[in-house]
Point group: C2
Chain length 267, copies 2
C-alpha cells in the first residue's frame, strides 16, 4: 500500500470521485487492527523525541462531513499520544469576538508551540466551506481566503510545524446509516444536530468546495490526504500510518546533553 | 482499601510523616496492574457523559517534587481520557506578562469549560511554594495567597467544576535514584534540570510549605490527596481510583433528547 495514493496531488487528485470511501487498501480488518497498537506506540515514542527536542511541532487538521469520524479518529488515533504536549481544539461557529477579527485570528492562537502536537477538529477550512455553501459572505470576501490559508500554513511550515490535513471521506449511504443510528440510540442523541440534515441536503455543494480546497491548498508543505472512512478500522490505521511516517521523516533526536552532566552523582 | 485514608483531613492529616511513600495499600502489583485498564475504560465512559452533558467539568491538579511522577501520571492515567475534551497544562515559571498580572490570572485562563477535563502539571500552588522556600517575595505578599486560592477554588466548585488535588509523595531515597537514573541515561538528560538539585537540598523547607498548603487549602470542595509515589504502579492505580470515584459521584447522565428526534428517518 502506497500512502501517497491518498495524498492529493495535482488537479486529478483533487477530484473526490477518484477515491473510494470503502477502500481498504487491500488489507484485512484483522491485519490493520493487529498493527495499530504498534503504530500508536511508535507514534508516542516519536512524540517524546519531538517534546524533548522542543524545536518543531506537529499540526493535524481533521475535516469531514458530519458523522465522517472526526471524533472517532481523535479518540482512537490521537488517543495514542501522551496528553502532556497534546492539544485538541474543536472549532465551532465563531463567536462575536472571533467574528470581529480576521478569520485566522482564533486559529493562530491554537497552533502548537515547539515540542507539541495540536489536533484541529474542524479548522479554518470551515471559513471557506460554510460561507460558500450557505452563501453567507460575498465571493470577494471568501475567495482571497484560499491564498490567506496557503500563506498562513507556509508560515507554520517555515517555523518548524509539520502540517498534515485529513479529509475523512465517507459515502452518502454510510452517513445516512450513522446519522440514523444516532437517532435510534437515545445515548447518542446529544451528538445529533438538526443542522446536519441541511448539510446532508447540500452534499454536492460541499463536494465542490472541498475539491476547490484540495486543488488550491494541497502542497508538499501542507498536504491534504483523502482518507477512505466508511470502514473505521481502515481510517484509523491509515491516519496512524501517515502520522508515523511524517514524524519519522522529521529525524527527531533527543537533544545533546549539556556539558558536565555525565558522571554527576546525586547525594 | 479506603480511598479516604489518602485524603487530607484536619491538622493531623496535613503531616507528611503520616503517609508512607512506599505504601501499596495492601495490594500486589499484579492486582493493581490487572485492574487499571478497566478503571481507565470506566473513566473514559464517565468522561463521555461529562462531555455530553456539558454542564460540569473536572480539574485535576498534580503537585510533587521533581521526579515524583507527575509526567508519568499524566501519561498513564490522564492518557486514558479521550483527548477530545481533555486539556493538559504544564505551568512553568511565569513570564513577564504573567508576572505583570495577579498570580491567578494565567491559571484562570486554563480552567476547564463545561464538559471538559483539565489536568494541571504544577499549578498556582507553585506561587506559594517557590516564593516561600526561595524567599523571593515578602511574607505579606505570599501569605494572602492561601485565602485567594481557597476562594478561587470555591468559585470553580460553585460553577460546577470538580477539583481534585494530588500530591505525589516520594521518599528522598527514591528521588535520588530517579534523578541519578536520568543522569546515567543520555536519552533522559533533557529531563534533568540542575535546579532540581537546589530544590532537593531544600527538601525539608518544601515539606514545611506543603504541609501549610494541605492544612489551609484542603476542603471537601477541593480536597488534597497524598499519593504514595515510590511505586509507580500504585500511584497510577490510586489516582485512577480517586478520579473514577469522583466522576461516579457526579451522577453524570446523557442529556435528555430534544423533542421530535425519536422516530425521525434520515433520507
Amino acid at each position: 500500500m502506497d500512502l501517497d495514493d491518498y495524498r492529493v496531488r495535482g488537479a486529478g487528485g483533487a477530484k473526490l470521485s477518484g477515491y473510494e470511501p470503502d477502500d481498504n487498501g487491500g488489507l484485512e480488518r484483522s491485519e490493520a487492527e493487529a498493527e495499530l497498537p504498534g503504530l500508536l506506540a511508535r507514534m508516542q515514542d516519536l512524540q517524546e523525541r519531538l517534546y524533548a527536542e522542543r524545536k518543531r511541532s506537529l499540526l493535524l487538521i481533521l475535516q469531514g462531513r458530519d458523522a465522517s469520524g472526526k471524533d472517532g479518529t481523535i479518540k482512537h488515533v490521537a488517543g495514542g499520544f501522551n496528553p502532556l504536549g497534546t492539544h485538541v481544539m474543536a472549532f465551532k461557529a465563531p463567536n462575536e469576538l472571533e467574528r470581529a477579527h480576521d478569520f485566522l485570528w482564533r486559529i493562530h492562537h491554537h497552533v502548537p508551540p515547539a515540542g507539541h502536537v495540536a489536533i484541529f477538529n474542524r479548522s479554518h477550512y470551515e471559513d471557506i466551506l460554510v460561507p460558500t455553501v450557505e452563501k453567507l459572505l460575498p465571493k470577494q470576501v471568501v475567495e482571497p481566503r484560499y491564498d490567506h490559508i496557503r500563506r498562513f500554513e507556509e508560515l507554520l511550515h517555515d517555523s518548524g510545524t509539520c502540517v498534515l490535513k485529513f479529509f475523512l471521506h465517507i459515502s452518502k449511504d454510510e452517513q445516512r446509516e450513522r446519522l440514523q443510528e444516532r437517532l435510534d440510540t437515545p445515548e447518542k442523541h446529544w451528538k445529533f444536530d438538526p443542522h446536519d440534515l441541511r448539510a446532508r441536503a447540500a452534499w454536492d455543494e460541499f463536494t465542490a468546495v472541498y475539491q476547490q480546497i484540495f486543488l488550491r491548498t494541497s502542497s508538499d508543505d501542507a498536504p491534504w490526504y483523502v482518507i477512505p472512512a466508511d470502514r473505521k478500522w481502515f481510517r484509523n490505521y491509515l491516519v496512524a500510518r501517515i502520522v508515523v511516517r511524517a514524524l519519522e521523516r522529521m529525524d527527531l533526536e533527543y537533544p545533546k546533553s549539556p556539558p558536565g552532566l555525565a558522571g554527576t552523582t546525586i547525594v
